[in-house]
């Protein structure tokens, strides 16, 4: 490994937060292109499945993580419990915040059709979303955090798939509309 590659690896090892290429370049007194090449080489060295440490691109930067192969042993050694999975309410609320941020709680409740206080509170407590001021009408608005991107393996919010991908096909949509109309007629009659 070159000195630059070794330095980049050491910096990622030390830094508690993901580090961007620009930050690495500045610290190493190198160009971003050089750092990019060093990161490529490092990725080769730390290819998943080859070592105990892997290189991850998350939250706008690079960071090292333990290979999942060691997960169970690590939880035994450090006695860290497995983070519980997201509940349906939490996942829906998180999806709305991640796509519409900054977004207010009333807006979340409107889309989900139910009050979402407790999901918002839990997500805030877990550090996945945070308050980011108030709307012009005075309602508290929320956004996702860096921790969210890190834990979900996203290098940035632009990594979220286009939400229209989840929309039904025009045919399905037409059919849904027909069914709604029919249901309405039955109720009226």
């Amino acid at each position: 490994m070159t000195v630059l590659e070794r330095t980049v690896e050491a910096l990622l090892f030390l830094s508690p937060q993901p580090v961007s290429t620009a930050e690495l370049a500045q610290a190493c007194d190198a160009s971003e292109a050089e750092v990019d090449r060093a990161l490529d080489a490092l990725e080769g060295h730390l290819l998943e499945g080859s070592r105990g440490i892997v290189l991850r691109q998350v939250a706008g930067g690079y960071t090292l993580a333990a290979d999942p192969v060691a997960e169970d042993a690590a939880r035994r050694l450090l006695s860290t419990p497995r983070t519980p999975p997201l509940t349906q309410a939490q996942a829906e609320t998180l999806a709305i915040v991640s796509y519409l941020q900054p977004v207010s709680r009333p807006e979340i409740a409107r889309i989900r059709g139910v009050a979402s206080e407790s999901a918002v509170a839990t997500l805030t407590e877990r550090g996945l979303i945070e308050e980011s001021g108030r709307s012009r009408f005075g309602a508290m608005v929320y956004r996702t955090t860096q921790l969210f991107e890190k834990l979900f393996g996203l290098s940035g919010l632009d990594q979220l798939p286009d939400p229209s991908r989840f929309d039904p096909t025009p045919e399905d949509e037409r059919e849904l509309r027909e069914r709604l109309l029919k249901a309405g007629e039955q109720r009226a009659s």
């Binding site: 508690p16 960071t63 997201l86 207010s104 009333p106 009408f137 834990l151 039904p168 949509e173 849904l176």
Partner: protein
Amino acid sequence: MRAAELDLDLDVFAGPFDLLMAVVLREEIPLSEVSLGDIVVAYLEHLEATGELDLDSATEFLVLIASLLELKSRLLLPTEDEEQIELGPEEAADELLARMLEYRRYREAAAHLSGLFADGRRYLYRAAPLPPELRRASLEAASHVYDPTRLGEALGDLLRVPPEPDTSHIRPTVSLERRLEVLRELLTRRGRFDFDEVFADEDRLTQAVTLFALLEMHKRGEATWTQKDLFGPIEVEVQ
């Protein structure tokens, strides 16, 4: 102050009361999320802080909060016979469809996120403090940021001796019981003794109480004393 200007800081809203009214009426904030109890508490706190009850503003507040209450109760308990704005079946279906599609979009996105999370949480990250040498300013980069006068002042504070505590208000207490014990013990041991010889070094209060104890013992027939000369030695003995 007018009730409408009452400043609110609620979970879903912060600002004056009249703006909240406007926002609710424009359905920017669903009334179901507004805690009317908190508004009443805020108003009472305001009254308590200012200490005056202005009848006009109190009436205005009551009218406003009552209308909000009515609105909210109607929202929470929709009645069958209430007149609804009639939507045509097509419009109703379209509106319902739009809302369903919107919700469906985020439900699917939620499933996608849950998948990412299930994958992402298998990776554990290091959470160790920085090594000590990185936690302090380096000698080369260090610059003059502290004023040495602060050290001198701190030293001056440490040299300052607190004034001797004033103990003049604390009175020694001498108990009659204790003095009786002392006298009885002396008489049992020695049969007789010279009062001055034994108690001359005690303070005046102790001497006085001891003398009082002696009078008490004389009254009970436990002890007696003789004094041959005026201001002469007092001989105490068992009676």
